[in-house]
């Protein structure tokens, strides 16, 4: 069983290895003459003001939170989808109820304006 997944693991390692090798090679080949101006961060030609790592809108946090919840819903749909033909009408109704409840939550989010970008 695990042997069918060994190629997947190796492929991930090949990808990582390619990336690491390229970065190391480029750092070895390329010149390195840092100046004060060169290594300062870009801010439209101005001197950088304060730290860049500031707090940002809570909207992004909302999107990530909602993504998790809907992602879990989708994960439940995969076993349902592959067994759909065998489960028949009962399975359809079961998933319909599941989706209705989550859709109610979705309507609530929209009405509350949690996904409103301005």
């Amino acid at each position: 069983m695990i042997e069918t997944y060994i190629p997947v693991i190796i492929m991930i390692l090949v990808g990582l290895g390619f990336g690491v090798a390229n970065i190391l090679l480029a750092e070895y080949i390329g010149p390195r003459r840092p100046t004060k101006e060169k290594i300062s961060t870009y801010e439209s030609g101005m001197e950088p003001v304060k730290s860049a790592r500031e707090r940002f809108s809570v909207k992004f946090y909302m999107v990530a939170m909602l993504f998790i919840l809907f992602d879990i819903e989708v994960v439940f749909m995969y076993p349902w989808a592959v067994q759909f033909k065998a489960l028949g009408t009962v399975g359809y109704v079961a998933m319909f109820l599941f989706m209705i409840l989550l859709f109610a939550g979705y309507i609530y989010i929209i009405k509350k304006g949690a996904l409103k970008w301005d």
Binding site: I2, V58, V75, P79, A94, L101, L102, G105
Partner: protein
């Protein structure tokens, strides 16, 4: 030694190393990335138990969704490097040590109590049980009611998330 055992050892050591990395790194983003690597190791450990669906979902949900939220929160709160503060010997630490010790005792008891041959072999049913198809069959027949209840749980989580975030905005 079978391939399964070799893979278990590699992944097990990897899981311990990344778990230690998660709790010892001072930089919160480094901790989070160690946790992502840890979830990959766990996913591999599920594969050695032939639980393919759970293994992939482990990466999909934990590493790919929940950790994104964690990284977002770290960035949102702009958590800097954790200062090396010397926490005194609090009740939290005592309780933590007690529970950790209890888990170690429990695992040792299970390990010593069972025969080694039973541990090294997987049930012949495990290959089919771990497949997506059989999970679908079991989930939508035997566990249909818990499945529907999960939607309520997710719904309350959705509403809770919106209420908490909204209070901050207003």
């Amino acid at each position: 030694m079978s391939l399964q055992v070799i893979m278990f050892m590699i992944l097990g050591v990897g899981a311990i190393v990344t778990a230690l990395g998660t709790i010892t790194r001072r930089n919160p983003v480094a901790s989070a990335m160690n946790l992502v690597a840890h979830f990959f190791m766990l996913s591999g450990l599920y594969l050695t138990l032939q639980a393919q669906f759970v293994a992939v979902v482990q990466v999909l949900v934990y590493a790919g969704a929940i950790m994104v939220l964690v990284v977002f929160v770290i960035m949102l709160l702009n958590v800097g490097k954790e200062e090396a503060h010397h926490e005194s010997f609090t009740i939290r630490k005592v309780l933590g040590l007690v529970f950790a010790g209890a888990i170690v005792v429990q695992m040792l008891a299970i390990y010593l109590g069972s025969s080694p041959s039973a541990m090294s072999q997987l049930s012949s049913k495990s290959l089919t049980l771990g497949a997506t198809e059989s999970i679908g069959t079991v989930l939508f027949n035997q566990y249909l009611f818990p499945f529907e209840v999960i939607s309520l749980l997710l719904l309350s989580a959705l509403i809770g998330a919106v209420i908490l975030a909204k209070r901050k905005v207003d």
